[in-house]
């Protein structure tokens, strides 16, 4: 229950939740930030303590999950894209990719990360008040942490595949155990192909570093630019008042 300051008659109305909510997903988090923005943009000040530790952790968690899962999708598609560019994998039914095909394979590998990063970057517009800033900072901190953890895991996994799983002697021994299931000619083809494909995982490990950089750089740049734009608009409005 809260009392409206503007209402001189003293009418009482049922107010909103007194503590910031705990967003479950990215859309929830963005909606909450929009609400803080609307309140702070109208000139009302919200005490910093309004944003509790649990609220901060909830925003961090949403960012972390997003950064990690989205990064894993991108990490999974990276060896496929590099395999296409190196002509080990087919794209659009062909093993002989054109320049467009190579570009498209690259685009598919980075697009999930880039799309997600632009989604976060759009928050720059709301980076004005204390609470909005705190919420966005926690969300981005989570995103960066998730992206870095994903990079570490993908980097180790790709090296593990290169040095351990696809090591020729070990791979040969494993494949010989499959002779009851797969014809020996096909196993031989598969062995040759995996041997040629093996270096793709090393290239992928370093390519994931590039996508991680995009995942971190795009939201931070977008938020910085959006915040400057919002600040300019607000200054203009104050001058006109």
């Amino acid at each position: 229950m809260s009392l409206s300051k503007d209402n001189q008659r003293g009418d009482v109305f049922l107010g909103a939740q007194a503590t910031p909510g705990k967003p479950k997903g990215l859309l929830d988090a963005i909606s909450e930030i929009q609400q803080y923005y609307v309140v702070e943009r109208s000139g009302s000040t919200i005490p910093v303590d309004f944003f509790t530790l649990a609220g901060k952790l909830a925003f961090f968690e949403v960012g972390f999950k997003g950064g990690f899962i989205c990064g894993l999708v991108s990490a999974f598609l990276t060896p496929v894209a590099i395999g296409v560019i190196e002509k080990y994998l087919p794209i659009f039914g062909s093993y002989d990719p054109t320049l467009y095909d190579k570009f498209f394979a690259f685009l598919i590998a980075v697009s999930f990360t880039v799309g997600y990063a632009f989604f976060f970057a759009s928050l720059g517009k709301y980076y004005i008040g204390e609470i909005s800033k705190a919420a966005i900072k926690n969300l981005i901190a989570g995103l960066v942490s998730g992206a870095i953890l994903k990079f570490v895991i993908a980097f180790i996994a790709f090296h593990f595949i290169y040095f351990i799983v696809l090591e020729p002697d070990r791979l040969g021994a494993w494949m010989l155990k499959l002779t009851w299931l797969i014809r020996i000619e096909n196993l031989d083809r598969l062995y040759q192909w995996l041997g040629e494909f093996r270096p793709v995982f090393l290239t992928s490990a370093y390519f994931v570093a590039f996508t991680t950089f995009l995942m971190v750089a795009i939201p931070i740049t977008g938020i910085y630019m959006g915040a400057r734009k919002s600040s300019k608009v607000m200054n203009h409005e104050n001058e006109w008042k």
């Binding site: 994998l89 087919p90 794209i91 659009f92 062909s94």
Partner: protein, 102 residues
């Protein structure tokens, strides 16, 4: 005793009508095997291979960005992104399956 017989007759009827449904949904009951193979070859050539696959994949990816990022309809964006991946790589996968089966 009569109730048991009625139940047995009912079960038999259900099984017979079920078999009828199975016959109906079998595509070879409506088209020849050659026609059915041609249909799949046409679908493969149109949607998963060549210029049309490139156009569909690019359109799905562009729509995924438009709906997922700009219009903030995340679920739709993810579905379109998946469809773009399927069109891009499925043609090759089908080719690999045929190569494997040789």
């Amino acid at each position: 005793m009569n109730e048991r017989r009625e139940l047995a007759v009912m079960i038999e009827l259900i099984l017979i009508s079920g078999a009828g449904i199975l016959d109906t949904i079998n595509p070879l009951a409506h088209v020849s095997q050659e026609g059915y193979s041609n249909l799949w070859a046409w679908l493969y050539a149109t949607f998963l291979n060549g210029i049309w696959a490139r156009i569909f994949a690019a359109a799905f990816l562009a729509m995924a960005f438009w709906l997922g990022v700009y219009r903030r309809r995340t679920a739709m964006g993810i579905v379109l992104f998946m469809m773009s991946i399927v069109v891009t790589y499925m043609g090759g996968m089908v080719g690999v399956m045929f190569w494997w089966a040789k």
